[in-house]
């Protein structure tokens, strides 16, 4: 990845161009407008106006795939260009054009299919980062599956570190609930990074107490994350048997991600030709050609006994209907794709356990990278107020050599350190070293400050 050592980039006031003002573009603008000069480019003037009003960003009506129009918009001065229109090819063309017009700019390209991401990974696309909706959606869903009842999970440092966000149930273990954290018997190799109570999040110290009804953000090894799930939601068993409704592009990507994890997956697809194709491409999955709206089929196949059902059809209303039917049949855990931003709330009211918005997870992946090329992943927890940063400490950072308890930064918590390829879950006596990769839990408003300090 070019520009990873680009020191100038770490500064603020970089000119950022967001090409495409759709849902992904808007989410990206929302996350980046604070510290940067953002210009949004879209063919359609309608979505540009509200963005300009809301976030005080410059807007240009023009084509992302037109070199002349981009040059006129001043893309030559750009430090970062994010091509996130709804068209893969336009985004790739934009990425190529920008490489010529602004050779020093970092380019991020959004694609829908995982194929372009693979081509990029093989260094055959000259852009800095490719984010694929298929991959991000599949990852979001499989993380939600791998950790049942976790509201949100994320992995860092090649899976050595996991962050889980859990609702503390009434049956949560007494080992963690109702005790001061310094006395509680927490799973080894983990820390509580945040407690969210009544819509307010706090970075806890040793005196904090977890209560039923809270939402807890824990950071730790995969094993510890798993133990956290068991402790906080005791019914959450290992997921081994999953059914996926809908095997179009996103559905198939989810199925592939799940079978890769060794989960036994059944797939329900209404279109016969598509079902045959998926059965051919994914021999590990069992494919059924029927709609997800057939109670007779669900009964016959014992769908009620699966541990989780994923609804990845292209129509949100159909997803909700099928998920409700599945819940009526007794499916304990439902995850649905929300293509419309409104659907997430409708799903929640309808009783769907987790909703995944493909465009939102795509935007999150873009923002994660855009924040800082050194920052490899940033989760936006609870609507942007908190972020988890993954930063490598510079040798000249003034924080190097300080024990954690003397850290001058407020409202930030170091959840984990990766040193010599090993994950450490530090206590307050641990000392930061140069070259440490640190996972920091921080308020969004202080993210840039934290990055600079490290």
């Amino acid at each position: 990845m070019r520009g990873a050592e680009d020191a100038a980039y770490a500064q603020l006031d970089v000119k950022v161009f967001v090409l495409g003002a759709g849902l992904v573009g808007a989410t990206v603008v929302e996350a980046l407008h604070a510290g940067h000069h953002v210009t949004v480019v879209d063919l359609d003037p309608r979505p540009l106006k509200p963005l300009a009003q809301l976030y005080d960003v410059a807007t240009v009506q023009g084509s992302a795939a037109s070199g002349r129009e981009l040059a006129a918009a001043g893309i030559g001065q750009a430090g970062l260009v994010i091509a996130c229109t709804s068209q893969d090819e336009a985004n790739l063309v934009a990425g190529t054009i920008v490489r010529k017009l602004a050779p020093n700019a970092i380019t991020i390209v959004r694609t829908s299919s995982a194929e372009y991401a693979e081509i990029w990974r093989e260094s055959r696309l000259d852009v800095d980062f490719v984010v694929s909706t298929e991959r991000e959606t599949a990852r979001a869903v499989s993380q939600a599956i791998g950790m049942p009842y976790a509201r949100q999970t994320d992995t860092f440092a090649d899976g050595k570190i996991q962050i889980v966000e859990l609702d503390v149930g009434a049956r949560a273990s007494g080992d963690v609930v109702g005790k001061k954290l310094r006395d509680a018997r927490l799973p080894g190799g983990s820390r509580v990074a945040g407690i969210i109570r009544g819509g307010r999040a706090v970075l806890p110290d040793g005196d904090a107490v977890i209560a039923p009804g809270d939402r807890v953000v824990a950071i730790g090894s995969p094993l510890a994350a798993h133990q956290w799930c068991q402790l906080v939601s005791p019914s959450g068993a290992d997921v081994r048997d999953v059914v996926v409704f809908g095997a179009q592009q996103l559905g198939a990507a989810i199925v592939r991600a799940l079978v890769d994890q060794g989960i036994s997956v059944r797939v329900v697809e209404a279109d016969a030709a598509r079902a045959a194709l998926v059965a051919e491409r994914l021999p590990e999955a069992r494919v059924f050609n029927t709609t997800g709206l057939d109670p007779g089929f669900m009964q016959r196949e014992g769908i009620a006994r699966v541990q989780a059902a994923i609804f990845a059809m292209r129509d949100d209303a159909r997803n909700l209907f099928a998920a409700t039917l599945a819940r009526v049949q007794g499916v304990p855990y439902t995850i649905a794709l929300a293509h419309d931003p409104v659907s997430a709330r409708v799903y929640e009211t309808g009783g769907i356990d987790v909703s995944v918005d493909p465009r939102r997870v795509t935007a999150e992946a873009i923002v994660r990278f855009a924040h800082d090329p050194r920052t490899q992943q940033v989760s936006m927890l609870e609507g942007d107020r908190y972020e988890i940063l993954d930063v490598t400490t510079r040798p000249e950072s003034e924080l190097v050599g300080l024990p954690l308890r003397e850290m001058p930064i407020q409202d930030a918590l170091i959840g984990a350190i990766v040193r010599n390829h090993e994950a450490i879950f530090p206590c307050s006596d641990d000392v930061l070293q140069a070259g440490d990769r640190v996972i920091v839990f921080t308020e969004s408003s202080r993210a840039a400050e934290v990055e600079r300090a490290l």
């Binding site: 045959a276 021999p283 059924f288 050609n289 029927t290 016959r300 196949e301």
Partner: protein
């Protein structure tokens, strides 16, 4: 009053098949068969036997081929459609060619035209069923000719299986369509020439290896081993998976070591030559190890061999190592449709005989010199049946049938199922004809005898039971049965469908 001449007014019904082109290809293929008769000529001269029948036969077939080619000159574009006619005729002409020396020599065992044709067809279809009652008493040149027809038939069968049948889409063979058979634009004649050209080398190497392995113990002075002549004769028929022998007791005339050697070479001859070619000549042995058909084929040999050997060990009449050897040998002989024997299996327990009767329907791998249904079709059939059984419980399930990881098309699967059904139907029909003939003209046959005779000729295996068993010969059957079995060998070799296709009016019409 005048009546219009019915049907005369319109243009004559036009043929949809380019018969001259087909005949041209037949001629250009069979003309190469003639020179083969020079080998028995050499033996005839060496043993002061009459050489002219072979010379005449060779001259006749080559002359016939050349004449056919000359007469149909200008019509050389052979398409898929003509292919069915071509292969049917080629094997018919080859069968007649094989029969000519027996008839011309007026041999007292094989000289009758019906018997001679049976023997000739048996050779070129690599069956090995014989109407000779005492093969050891046959003149040496005739013996050589019998062995040679099998060997020549064998390379023809390889070309048929690897280049022709896949293109004719016979019985689901299209799934084995390799780069050899290809859907390409090369004409059929070119494909056949290419394939024969490529596998000729492998065929010679395997035959030479077989010859050396069989001859070596004799040269080293081991007891009951083959002499050079026997080794040559049996190497020719083993690689062709036919069972003509120079001995009345077949391989039973030789010792245990020789018998085990023959087992190995029978097993090799039953493998797909394309897989063998890649493993030996292109250094891709991994492909062979992953080949699902090959693995199942070997598993069948081991399991069936062990089962029959176990029966013999516990129930007799064989004992100890001899029982294991006899069981494994006969199982390999029948699965590969070779048809040799080492002992008189006619006295084996019924269970063992039943097992052998079933094994006639297995066959070797596709692309080998073996006959019958072929292992790959059984593999696919089992997978289709497994899927259909599963679908009765899960009606909405979509599960493609795979072979070697690749999905097999529905149409191919249907073709495989159809082939197996037609194969069984022809078997039943053939058994009925033989039973009817036996009822009127004898000999006395029990059910297993009938099953062996029909299944073994249809599968091009050539072992018989009862009157046609180890001590008898197919001469025991009446003439109608002999003709019927000649047809069964011919139809079985061509995998039935090309001949059935010829019987349909739609084949000939435009």
């Amino acid at each position: 009053m005048t009546l219009a001449a019915p049907g005369r007014a319109g243009p004559p019904a036009r043929l949809g098949v380019d018969v001259p082109a087909a005949l041209n290809l037949v001629g250009s293929l069979v003309k190469y068969l003639g020179p083969a008769s020079l080998l028995p000529v050499a033996f005839a001269i060496a043993h002061s036997e009459p050489a002219w029948p072979f010379l005449a036969a060779g001259a006749l077939v080559s002359g016939f081929g050349l004449a056919l080619e000359r007469l149909t000159r200008g019509a050389e574009e052979v398409g898929i459609r003509e292919g069915y006619l071509v292969i049917s005729l080629v094997w018919l002409v080859a069968g007649v060619y094989g029969a000519l020396p027996y008839m011309l020599a007026g041999n007292h065992q094989l000289g009758r035209p019906i018997d001679a044709l049976f023997e000739g067809m048996s050779g070129f279809t690599t069956t090995g069923a014989s109407t000779a009652t005492d093969v050891a008493a046959l003149p040496v040149s005739i013996q050589v000719w019998r062995q040679l027809t099998i060997w020549l038939g064998g390379i023809g069968v390889v070309a048929l299986g690897l280049a022709v049948l896949p293109r004719l889409r016979v019985g689901g063979r299209q799934l084995l369509e390799s780069e050899l058979a290809g859907g390409g634009t090369q004409p059929l004649s070119g494909r056949i020439r290419d394939t024969v050209g490529r596998f000729w080398r492998l065929y010679i190497v395997l035959s030479t290896a077989g010859f050396l392995a069989l001859a070596l113990p004799g040269w080293l002075g081991a007891g009951r081993a083959m002499d050079t002549f026997d080794a040559l004769a049996h190497a020719l028929s083993t690689i062709g998976t036919g069972s003509f022998s120079t001995e009345s007791h077949s391989i039973g005339a030789f010792g245990g070591l020789t018998q085990w050697t023959v087992v190995v070479f029978m097993a090799i001859a039953g493998m797909n030559f394309l897989v063998l070619y890649r493993a030996l000549f292109q250094r891709r042995p991994r492909e062979a190890a992953r080949d699902e058909e090959l693995r199942l084929y070997l598993a069948i040999l081991v399991v069936a061999g062990a089962a029959v050997a176990a029966i013999l060990l516990s129930r007799g009449p064989e004992h100890g190592e001899a029982a294991i050897r006899a069981g494994v040998f006969e199982v390999t002989s029948i699965v590969t449709t070779t048809g040799y024997f080492t002992v008189d299996y006619g006295h084996w327990p019924t269970f063992a005989l039943m097992a052998l009767a079933l094994l006639f329907f297995v066959g070797g791998c596709a692309g080998s010199t073996a006959g019958s249904i072929k292992v790959v079709r059984h593999l696919l059939l089992a997978r289709v049946l497994g899927r259909e059984v599963e679908r009765t419980v899960h009606p909405e399930l979509v599960r493609p049938v795979r072979l070697g990881g690749a999905v097999v098309e529905q149409q191919t699967l249907l073709a495989v199922i159809s082939f197996v059904l037609i194969y069984v139907a022809v078997f039943v029909l053939g058994t009925a004809v033989l039973a009817l003939d036996a009822a009127f003209h004898g000999p006395h046959l029990n059910v297993l005898d009938l099953v062996f005779a029909t299944a073994s000729t249809l599968a091009n295996a050539g072992v018989g039971l009862g009157p046609a068993g180890t001590t008898g010969s197919f001469a025991a059957f009446g003439d109608p049965s002999t003709v019927a079995m000649t047809l069964l060998m011919w139809v079985g070799r061509l995998e039935i469908l090309p001949v059935v296709v010829l019987l349909r009016r739609s084949y000939w019409q435009l």
